[in-house]
Amino acid sequence: MRQFIIFLAKGLAIIIITMVLLDLLYTAVFMQSDSRSKIDFLYNSKDKEYDVVFLGSSRVNNHFVPKIFNDNGYKTFNFGITRSRLDESALMLKLMIERKYKIKNLILQVDLNINTNDHSEAIRSLFMPYIHQSQIIRDHYKNIDEYPKLLYIPFYRYMNYDARIGFRETYNSAIHKPTNALSLDGFNPLMKNVRPLVPADLSKYSPKRNKSYDDIKKICKENNINLIAITTPICMSTINREYFDQIKLVYPEIRSFENAVTDDKYFATCGHMNQKGAIEFTKVVFNAYFKPKNVN
């Protein structure tokens, strides 16, 4: 039995050493990756200056065309991430401050995402490689149940979120395999139109006060960032469009743009505009808040 206990102890040591080594390796790979996702780009950049940045979910990622702003003299980047919630948008803004970004205007999508105070597990995972390096990320997640395991068990975070930051993503990051996340200054156009449009059903949606949105407002105020909170278009056949009116009751400062583009031809799906729709919409937003600068 003594021999077996020694054998098990050696096996356990192999497991621990392997976990530590893999953790170091994976983290080293993610620390040098800046072209796979908007989060690694953000973490591995510093001192950027933007006139305008966009934050939100796919309804930002697919809807805002930074080129329109850039062509008019406003340095702009779309940091919207499909599936992200306001919790992740807030963390991205905090990271921008930590990375010493200088931002003049933040355009934040606040519509379907204030139906809940929940987070996105898929997007949360993308912050995890940097948890040991970033105090901001640690502070943001210190109250979640899994925090001790994520922070103190080597390699646990890569196993727990293997679909997003596991071997496959680490390998692709190591070989610098490009994605389209950062092309077009973060704008990801939808080219394929799904027909017929299936109406979005918001009958169970109701806007609620959102802690992350309140955090974003506070951060913007502290850092002299002009916050522009807006809703974004959704197709006219959506069930319970009154949801957008109710948003105003919770947060009166949010500006309504859900009707800025209405023609079905501009929609790839009911909740997402196609490229043409995105261009139309971006022009509407630009004209509502900005004037062209003299550019060559």
Partner: protein, 477 residues
Amino acid sequence: MFFNSLHFAIFLPIVFIMYWFVGHKSKINQNYILILASYYFYSCWDWRFLFLLVFSTLLDYVSAMKIEQSKTQSERKLWLWICISINLGFLGIFKYYNFFAASFAELVQSFGMTASPILLKLILPVGISFYTFHGLSYIIDIYYGRIKSEKNFVDYSLFVSYFPLLVAGPIERATHLLPQIKVRRKFNFNKAKEGIYQIVWGLVKKVVIADSCAIYANEIFDNYQNANSLSLVLGAIYFAFQIYGDFSGYSDIALGTSKLFGIDLLKNFNYPYFSRDIAEFWRKWHISLSSWFRDYLYIPLGGSKGNKLFQVRNTFIIFLVSGFWHGANMTYVAWGFINAVYFLPLLLLNRNRKNVDDFTLGINFESVRTLLNILMTFSITCFAWIFFRSKTITDAISYIRRMFENLDFSSQYFKIERYNHELITLLVVFILVEWNNRSKIEPISGKYSWLKLGLCIAAILALGVFSDYKEFIYFQF
């Protein structure tokens, strides 16, 4: 509590310590510890079904003694059939009632009459197919006088409920397991070490191979209408490795766990995808079930005695029943039928026992032929798996039709943000490892075992699927 869960990782060491440090002095203590652990293990799924397990155990235990005490043959037969009927009755109600009720209603409706079957909302008790067959083999062996009935209820209960094999086999035989339970087990370092190696290799098969393949196979089978020919071919291959990695991985963990307690279980898989014909495949795939059907169904039906027509009938019965054993769905029956069809030429030409010997490959024509036979057997096996995996027979036929009609063999990108060909490298490495170690139980033991153990652990940690957790497939059977 699954073998690849944290719960089991805590449970197993506790039982191990209790078994070897508290109960090691007598066989009685060892058995008490194992039976308590087994009942706890089973109750973790659904404690209500523990009563069913205990009832089934009690029924077989009493029936066996009654058969043995019977003075006349008719009395023996009566007790045998009471026991078989009740056991199969439970299995039938829990597993097959809804299928038969719905099928009957469909049949009635096809004659223009109306029928609204009463369907039961029953949860299938985990492992019921396994422990029912377990008990049946015991009672049939008693009836035929192959073994004596077990008088000690704890020992018998442990034979039925022993936790490593309780929920998904292997289906043990009283002649093999009971003698081991009847004596005090002494700790054997080499056996325990072998058990650890087998557990680790089982985990590699489950979390690295099976669960990775499952991601792709599920995507392809669930959206086969949008998949091209290459994806559909790969989908069948991925599923073949998913079910192999899943079930043989489970079996390895079960056998390895049991070795930690000094008990050997029956081997359930013997590198089936390296078979040279379908008969050899069935001697190497789910061995405990195949041999169960051979001994308790095929041979009592007459087996290979009698004329060819008789043998063909028996072959079809055994394959169809084997298919139906997996679940109440016509897809499983179709899978069994296809395998029977594969088997038929071998049976008619008396070649079903042609490939029973081991083989080695060299640089000669014979080796090329062997390799081609292996590839052919694997291909037809994959074809049959399409029926096993599809939701309906119509889906399976549409899947196959599209595979042959689409004829687009390009790389395809799925909604799950992965390419269809991504797993091929992993599978090739896995096949090479299995091929090079096919004479052993697992590939870790032998030279450089620490290095191989480290690589396996690294593979589990780095390549394993943890976030998209999947149950063992055979738990549903």
